[in-house]
């Protein structure tokens, strides 16, 4: 997943689906808030208040954040998805099997699955989707290493990889795992912007950007009995307070939020059900951080990055803006993860140390000045102002820039930033974050590169390759622990907090966080804010 909106303490951009969720509040008609395994009722419509608008439905070219995946799970299906036990299971695919060394992955598709335009899901369509994704500057990097795709029969797709990749299946839970109809591929190639054509539970009805996206029930959906609702509508409501107020006034039935104040407000409510993403982490949760560009001055100087880290009082920041909801973090992985290291070597708050480093730099180059970019959000703008004060105290000359989400992500990709707030790295498997850290995805400033901070550390690449190609858990643990430590040394990211997502529903809305995978096993129904609208039903 690339791109995001809104704000916890900090925000900017997010990664692939992760696997964490917890539920609080009072249930209505079920044993757990957001999950109801009772007999669903058919019909009705649900309106969901989201954080922001997306820029389109086409996986190869649009920047999908949490909102993008919500829309995608409405009109499309992912090839694979995450099960409740953390394993990756087939969804639109029927099976996915590796060869002995995980260099060839064979996928069989479900038969009889049709797109919303009546065309059939075939291996050729899946291959053509792959071709479009691989050719895209946005998604192509994630598919590097897949040397060819074969279609021996209409329902079999064979992915040939240049090197072993045990985590290949997890990659198909991300944006590159969503399949669109052939007509959509063709029309887009012809320069048109077609309406989405998918195999999903709902069919596109209307989209007025910044106002609403509505989809109606797919009567021919391949999953028997789904969806339960007749219609689902998404309404972007950018202001956190107004989104919560709209839920309270009945203007929407569900809201997505990443605002600690809103999460705390609805936690424990008897009227509403709240599901959040802060506990019970199985994969890697999304992290908030400030990203530093290691390819431009002055953040290309390690002393500057160290000084910025040492002068950032994260605990104070979270106390002011986090409402005690989250804790400061020191790296990519959290307690409970097999890759967690309690002391990564990440700098602790030390203003005197920061000042000394700044003075060293000043003697050589003059006062270090840089711009801290953030997304346009009143709350975030307040947060970065405090950060600006902290850094100025250490001797920096900091200016702040507020930029729209999509534009900021473009700046990340092209390396046109110095420091920027962001969130990312939620993933069921750490290998899914390969492209963000790899030296192979570094481009010069102005070029397209998914290693946004342009950090070129050969030890990181070695660790990433080791983790990617090995199926030995102990080898992988060593590799990713090393990655975590190198990130703390190189400091392309200044870590802040585990990023909170929550979905809040009124009492009528059932099973919005529940998911049963097509194979019958329990799936992750609330994955960093991403839900499956096909599972929702209304009580009364």
């Amino acid at each position: 997943m690339l791109g995001a909106a809104g704000a916890s303490v900090l925000a900017g951009c997010s990664s692939s689906p992760s696997t964490s969720s917890s539920t609080t509040g009072s249930p209505s008609g079920g044993s757990t808030p957001g999950v109801n395994t009772g007999t669903p009722k058919k019909g009705g419509s649900v309106t969901i208040g989201t954080l922001a608008e997306i820029d389109g439905f086409f996986p190869p070219s649009n920047h999908w954040d949490t909102n993008g995946f919500l829309y995608a799970n409405t009109v499309y299906d992912p090839l694979m998805w995450v099960a409740a036990d953390g394993t990756v299971q087939p969804y639109l695919a029927k099976t996915l099997t590796p060869n002995a060394d995980s260099t060839v992955w064979t996928m069989t598709l479900r038969s009889g699955v049709k797109f919303s335009d009546g065309s059939e899901l075939t291996s050729t369509v899946v291959k053509n989707n792959f071709t479009a994704l691989a050719a895209s500057a946005l998604t192509g990097t994630a598919l590097k290493g897949i040397t060819s795709v074969d279609t021996p029969d209409p329902l079999t797709v064979v992915y040939n990889l240049s090197a072993p990749r045990p985590s290949f299946a997890a990659g198909l839970t991300t944006q590159v795992g969503y399949v669109v109809g052939q007509a959509m591929l063709d029309q887009t190639a012809a320069g048109k912007t077609p309406n989405p054509i998918g195999t999903g539970p709902f069919i596109y009805s209307s989209w007025q950007p910044n106002d609403h996206f509505t989809a109606t029930r797919n009567p021919n959906y391949w999953q028997s009995g789904l969806p339960h609702l007749d219609q689902v509508t998404f309404k972007p409501i950018p202001d956190d307070t107004q989104r919560a107020a709209t839920l309270k006034t009945g203007g929407v039935d569900l809201i997505l939020t990443n605002d600690p104040v809103t999460i705390k407000e609805f936690t424990g409510s008897s009227q509403y059900q709240l599901v959040d993403s802060l506990t019970d982490v199985i994969g890697e949760p999304t992290m908030s951080f400030i990203m530093l560009n290691t390819a431009v001055a002055p953040t290309n100087d390690l002393r500057i990055r160290q000084a910025l880290a040492k002068s950032l009082d994260v605990k104070q920041l979270l106390k002011i803006f986090g409402g005690g909801l989250t804790k400061a973090i020191n790296g990519l992985f959290q307690p409970g993860s097999p890759y967690y290291v309690s002391d990564t070597g990440y700098p602790t708050y030390d203003l005197a140390g920061a000042k000394a480093l700044v003075n060293q730099y000043k003697a050589e180059h003059g006062t270090p000045s840089l711009t801290l970019s953030t997304v346009t959000d009143p709350r975030l703008e307040s947060v970065v102002q405090i950060i600006q004060q902290m850094w100025n105290q250490a001797g920096f000359d900091i200016s702040v820039a507020s930029i729209q989400q999509a534009t900021l992500i473009t700046d990340f990709i092209t390396g046109k930033f110095q420091a920027a707030t962001s969130y990312q790295f939620g993933a069921v498997d750490p290998d899914l974050n390969y492209v963000w850290f790899s030296t192979t995805t570094v481009s010069p400033v102005g070029g397209i590169g998914l290693n946004f901070p342009r950090n070129t550390d050969p030890q990181i690449e070695f660790s990433l390759q080791s983790g990617r190609t090995s199926s030995s858990q102990s080898t992988r643990e060593v590799a990713y622990k090393k990655l975590n430590q190198r990130l703390a040394t190189d400091l392309p990211y200044l870590w802040l907090e585990q990023y909170p997502f929550a979905m809040v529903g009124d009492g009528r809305v059932q099973n919005f966080a529940g998911l049963t995978l097509p194979g019958g096993t329990a799936g992750y129904g609330f994955d960093e804010g991403i839900i499956f609208p096909s599972q929702i039903w209304l009580n009364g």
Partner: protein
């Protein structure tokens, strides 16, 4: 009179022409390849080549201007590079929302400010006048982003009288549309009420000291007649001028209210486009808003002649 309007119309045409040149130049004055400005940084070389062909980007600038102007006259303002939405569609959906917000808010503002000014100007510095003057001064100090959340907390969340966010087009459901627009309109009305009230009150106090008012009183005319028939019209000059400027400023200037109430109006679209560097959207909206502003000033000029026909002789 006819000469006056012809002169004004010609001025309008000249200003509109200058606006169109400036809006056209927006894309060309930015550094770098105009095709990158129009299509964004991530589009393909093929699409850039097609755009060059379509817009004649390799032709002299004046020729490009006429190609662009021709497209504008055919209702083609280009499209957003982000979601490929037509700019004409963005304007067509956003402009009526802004217009409705402005009309409702201005009707409320006039409905409150004019009667209040008529009443208080008759007896200045009395209790009602003092209360009104102080209250409107307070309203002037309260920006929409403060008023809006307070109103939502009271009237939407507390009393459930109005929705907290959302918008239904008038063509779909007029009653629901008006219901949705009340709170956003009230949020931007406060400032207008304060300005209109204070201007009109001040002018009325001055007019009421004129000889023709003394004459009217000596003829035994009632207060209501004097105020409405004799004092209001000559006192409304400043009010009209202020309304013209205010309405112009509100065109696409209602961003905060549209953001808070999640209404996809022109102001919201414009600010988003600026932040996303979606220059064709900025260009299209800027053109429409600027031309609308000029047209509004033309209408205000016409209204001046109604209030005081001597204007045409100047």
């Amino acid at each position: 009179m006819t000469k006056y309007f012809i002169r004004r119309f010609l001025q309008l045409v000249v200003v509109a022409f200058i606006i169109s040149v400036l809006c056209f130049m927006l894309v060309h004055l930015l550094p770098g390849d105009p095709s990158v400005v129009i299509l964004g940084p991530n589009d393909t070389a093929h699409n850039r080549a097609v755009l060059f062909q379509q817009l004649g980007l390799n032709k002299p600038l004046y020729q490009q201007y006429f190609v662009w102007l021709g497209a504008v006259f055919h209702g083609n303002l280009g499209q957003s590079y982000l979601n490929h939405e037509s700019v004409t569609h963005i304007v067509a959906t956003g402009f009526p929302i802004d217009l409705e917000l402005i009309v409702i808010s201005q009707v409320i503002a006039f409905a409150v400010a004019i009667p209040l000014a008529l009443v208080t100007s008759r007896r200045p510095n009395r209790a009602l006048d003092n209360v009104s003057t102080t209250s409107t001064f307070g309203l002037l100090a309260l920006p929409p982003f403060v008023i809006a959340p307070i109103m939502v907390a009271i009237f939407a969340v507390g009393l459930h009288w109005f929705p907290a966010t959302g918008y239904v087009p008038f063509s779909q459901n007029p009653a629901a549309n008006l219901h949705d627009m009340i709170l956003p309109s009230l949020a931007i009305t406060a400032g207008s009420i304060a300005v209109y009230y204070r201007l009109l009150r001040s002018d009325l106090i001055s007019t009421l000291q004129e000889d023709f008012i003394t004459m009217a009183r000596s003829k035994g005319l009632g207060n209501r007649t004097i105020m409405w028939r004799h004092a209001f019209r000559p006192s409304s000059f400043s009010l009209l001028a202020a309304a013209g400027v205010n309405i112009g400023a509100l065109l696409a200037g209602t961003f905060i209210v549209e953001y808070l109430f999640a209404i996809d109006g022109l102001g919201y679209s414009l600010v988003q486009a600026v932040q996303q560097r979606d220059y064709l959207v900025v260009q299209g909206i800027a053109l429409v808003v600027a031309v609308a502003y000029v047209v509004i000033q033309f209408i205000i000029d016409f209204l001046f002649t109604v209030v005081d026909p001597r204007v045409t002789r100047e």
